[in-house]
Structure formats: C-alpha cells, structure tokens
C-alpha cells in the first residue's frame, strides 16, 4: 500500500474494430483522490473506466492499479494475458457501480451485498451479513434488506449497488454514470452517498454529467473528447475557466 498512485494509466489505446476510441490516455489517480471524468458521449470516458478493471482489454499502453499491471503479466519485455481466475482476483480490490445498477433480480438487497464476501472471499456468513447490514445502513437502506430489487426505486437500487461494490473493501471505486438512469428527484440521495464516500477518503473515479457534483466533490476534473484528455485541473479552474474551446462548448451545452 506504499504506492503513491492507486491508478496509473500510461498511453492507453483501445480500438473497437477500425474505430480508435482511446488515443493514448495517460492519467494517474492518487490515494484518496476523487476524479470526475466529463465529456460528450462517445468521448471514450466510459470505455476508459471499463479498461481500468479490465472489463475491456486494452490494445496499447499499460494500466496499473495499486502498482499491479491489470489483466496481464510482464516477463522481460513480453506481456502475457492472465487467466480469468487471476483477473477476477485483481478485480476484488476495485468496486464498480453501473449506470443501470445490474443488481441480481433473484436476490434480496442484503443477498446481493453478501454474495461476493461469502462466495468469493469465503467470509463467515454471519460476519458477511452483519457487515452487509452496516453497509445498507451507511447508504440509508437498512429497512430494505429483505426487499428484492424490483421492489425498490431506481435510486434505492443504485444505493444497494454502491453498498455491494463496497462489500469487499475495495481500494478504488469506479462509477459509470451512476445517476444517468434515475428520475431527477432520486439523483440527490445517490449523490449524497457518493459525497459521504468521497469524504471518507475513498479513491474514486466518476464518469458523470453532474457538473454540480464534480464542482463540490471532485479533487480534479478531467475533460475527455474524441478519445483524448483535452484538459484537466481542479474543478474551479476547469469548470469556471476552461482553457480549450471544446471544453467551453461542452460546458455551455450541459449547463
């Protein structure tokens, strides 16, 4: 845990067919830092996020999480693909929250949270349940433990999904547009939970369209467009005084 950077991306490139979606992204995230990724759709921000926990493989460059090369093993100057089991092990230290929640419909809120601790981390069931209840309490849903996802609102489902992602004590949390699928009045509760998490010192990378959240919760904001990092800086600088035309045009269109 002595690594200064939780995430270190160097020259990351990614193609979908003949379409280059990431054109050499270099980006580092320090421990405890909250980074917001902004950018128009198709800018590659979600793809980059998915590359960090190797849900997408990369075609060039390197991504290190806690100093460990993601998805590959380097021996000499050759790089070898890891086995699915080894990649799964690497992912345990990275929590991810999805735009469409992706809770398992056949499990209650609590079961969704305890599945990985019990089945993967081999935690005793009672301990996992107690910790699961504590997590539900943290996201304000202790009374919904035995409800199924279909019985919860979108905002409640997303908060359960955040609790689920926290269940294995990750050192990094990835958020992929966590409020984009929610009704406007439900966005606030989810952002509150994320704000608390940021204040507790969690390292977070958040792909979002919530400019307000970026302004108050982010330590640094990165603006991406066309597969490159156009501009980055503290929220006050980037949001109030953007240096690039593309950043300016984007901010004008969303505000």
């Amino acid at each position: 845990m002595s690594e200064p950077y939780v995430v270190e991306a160097r020259g990351v490139r990614k193609w979908f067919g003949s379409n280059e979606v990431l054109k050499s992204i270099t980006l580092s995230v320090s421990r405890g830092e909250v980074l917001c990724l902004l950018g128009p759709s198709g800018s590659g921000k979600t793809t980059f996020l998915r590359c960090i926990n190797h849900l997408e493989s990369i075609d060039g460059g390197r991504i290190l999480v806690n100093g460990e090369l993601m998805g590959y093993r380097q021996r000499g100057d050759k790089v070898y693909e890891l086995k699915p089991r080894e990649i799964a092990e690497q992912r345990r230290s990275i929590g991810m929250v999805f735009q469409r929640f992706n809770l398992s419909t056949h499990m209650t809120a609590l079961e969704n949270i305890t599945e990985a601790p019990i089945g993967i981390a081999k935690m005793p069931k009672n301990t996992a349940r107690e910790r699961g209840m504590a997590l539900l309490d943290r996201v304000g849903l202790a009374d919904k433990a035995n409800q199924y996802p279909a019985q919860l609102s979108g905002g409640q489902q997303q908060r359960v999904a955040i609790a689920r992602a926290l269940a294995l004590d990750p050192t990094l949390m990835l958020f992929d547009e966590p409020t984009s699928a929610l009704d406007p009045e439900l966005v606030g509760d989810v952002l509150d939970v994320m704000r608390d998490l940021a204040q507790s010192g969690m390292t977070m990378i958040v792909v979002t369209h919530e400019i307000g959240f970026s302004r108050e919760a982010a330590d640094r904001v990165v603006f991406m467009d066309g597969g490159v990092v156009v501009e980055e800086g503290p929220p006050t600088q980037l949001l109030d005084n953007p240096q690039h035309d593309r950043t300016r045009a984007f901010l004008q269109s969303v505000l």
Partner: protein, 323 residues
C-alpha cells in the same frame, strides 16, 4: 389482491347494471350439449366393455407400467437437463472446439427421429458384440462385457431418450441464458467472480424463470415419448397395456386405461411446475403470484363482491323508478 367488495357510497358513483353477455351463455350451453352427446355415444357403445376399464385401471401389470413410465421420465429428464446445461454453456463458450462439438451434437440428435435412435440403441449389440475398456492399440484390457448384458433394453431406451432430450433442452437453456442482460455478468466480474461462479450463482438462477415453462412442456412430451420404448419391449405403461390386451382382446378398453393414466400423470405434473415457476419468479414481480388456493379464495371473493354490487345497483335502480 383483495376482493373488490364495496358499497355504493356517494351520489356521483356510477350505478349501472353490468353489460349482459347472452352470447357466452348460449355458446357454453351448445358446447355442453355437444360434449354430452359425444360422451353418451361413447358410453353407450356396445363395443366398449366398461367393467374391464375399471378392472384393469388398477391391474398390477398396468400399475407397474405406470411406475416404470414415471421412473424412465424422471431419469431421462434429469440426465437430459444436465446434458442440456453443459451443451448450452459449450455452445456459448469462446472455445471454438466446444462450440463445434455442441453444434454437431444438437444437429445430429435433433435431425434424426427419436424412434430411430431408440431402435438403434436396442440394436447396439448387433454393432458391437462386446464393450471393452482398455488402452487403444494394445492388448491391455481393464474390463469387457457382452453389450446386451451391459445395456439391456431399458437402459438403452433411457440413454436414447436422455441424449435426444439433451439436444432439445440445450436450445431452451441457451435461450434462457441469452435472455439475461450482459450487465449481470459484468457486475459479477467486477466483484471478482470468475466465469464459472457467475454462471452458477448469477446467470443460471435468473435464466430459470425463462427455462422452466418450456421445460414443463418437455416433461409432458417426455412422459408420452416413453411409450415409444414399446418397440424395444420395455414394459412401460403403453407396452403393459398392449401386452395385456393381446391376451384378453380388449384393445380399446386398455387404450382408454392407458390414456387415463397418461392424462392423470400430465395433470399432476402441472403442480410442481407451478411451484417451481413461483420459486424462480421471486424478485421479478412486486408480489409473489398467488397459490391455487389463494386464487380460488380470490375468485369466490370477487364473485360474491360482484353479486353484492349487482344487488345494490338493482336496488338503486328500483328506487329511481319508484321516485
């Protein structure tokens, strides 16, 4: 859902006599008459000897056939299902060898008649007199047995039904797996679950809700397909019935006996299917679907509620006329 019993509360409530449907009553009456005539003509038919139907319905030979039919169906469905899940996962694998094998299997066993497959297994002894286990191209042999001893007709029949069932059910399982949103897998992977664990704990349980209804269909179909084992002389229900009738020449009566048993068994099958669907449907609806008893209670409640409403409406209409 509670019953819809309510009383007319305020003046602006709609107080209307419900729309009558005389056509429905006429159609229902006509159908009852036609069915009645059909059954009387069958019942009065002098060629049907009723006492022998009741006599043979619980004949020990028939009951043994019923039991064997149930056993063959159960074993073939279990083996077929295991095969099907394996084949479906192979078919969706990224490994091209597994994909090709699964495709070839389905192609072959769906493309040839079940009857032919059953007879083939019955005649396996003609193809291979001995079945041996040993090291190929050497004289080392661990085990050797006569094919007809190792695979009697019953085992051959069950193998044929299982292999055939596996091919059909594989497509059902595959449809179920395809119905699960890819986000479910991604969420599982992001939690550090491997592909096998994700399939077992996350994807398959959710796919069951899609898989169960057509599997019920398949079970009913299997129950009836067991009668094809008559061609290899397995004493299941149909064979038992025809063997009995070949002695007493009551062919029609024994076919009726067999049909009654087949109908009884397929009817009984709908009960476990209902509860399986209810179990795997948990979490998808806001409330669990009612059990048949709850449904019946709900129906009687609604009926009495409707009747009460009608009484109230009539009374109100009468009052209106009086005024």
């Amino acid at each position: 859902m509670a019953s819809t019993t309510r009383t007319v509360a305020s003046d602006d409530d709609v107080v209307a006599i419900p729309l009558r449907h005389p056509g429905r009553w006429i159609a229902a009456a006509a159908i009852v008459v036609v069915l009645g005539l059909l059954f009387t003509s069958l019942w009065r038919n002098p060629n049907v000897d009723h006492p022998s139907i009741t006599e043979f319905l619980f004949d020990p030979r028939i009951l043994k056939g019923v039991w064997l039919t149930i056993v063959i169906t159960a074993v073939s469905m279990v083996v077929g299902t295991i095969l099907a899940v394996t084949l479906a996962i192979m078919r969706m694998s990224s490994n091209p060898v597994l994909r090709a094998v699964a495709f070839g299997y389905t192609w072959f066993f769906r493309g040839t008649p079940l009857l032919v497959q059953i007879v083939f297994w019955g005649y396996l002894g003609l193809l291979y007199q001995q079945i041996s286990l040993g090291v190929p191209l050497t004289d080392i042999q661990f085990f050797s047995a006569d094919t007809n001893d190792l695979i009697p007709a019953l085992v051959g029949g069950v193998i044929a039904l299982s292999l055939n069932e596996g091919a059909y059910a594989a497509e059902i399982v595959r449809a179920g797996l395809l119905s699960i949103d890819h986000g479910q897998r991604e969420a599982a992977y992001s939690l550090g679950m491997g592909p096998g664990y994700t399939m077992r704990r996350i994807v398959l349980p959710q796919a069951m809700k899609v898989i169960i209804p057509p599997r019920g269909n398949e079970t009913i179909s299997m129950l009836k397909s067991t009668s094809l084992l008559a061609v290899v002389a397995v004493a299941e229900l149909y064979t038992a019935a025809t063997q009995t009738s070949s002695q007493n020449l009551r062919q029609v009566e024994l076919l009726i006996v067999a049909s009654i048993w087949y109908l009884a068994m397929t009817t009984a099958l709908s009960i476990p299917q209902y509860y399986l669907e209810r179990y795997y449907g948990r979490g998808t609806a806001r409330e669990l679907p009612p059990t048949p008893w709850q449904q019946f209670r709900g129906w009687t409640g609604r009926m009495s509620g409707r009747w009460q409403n009608r009484q109230i409406a009539r009374a109100a209409a009468r009052e209106a006329v009086d005024e």
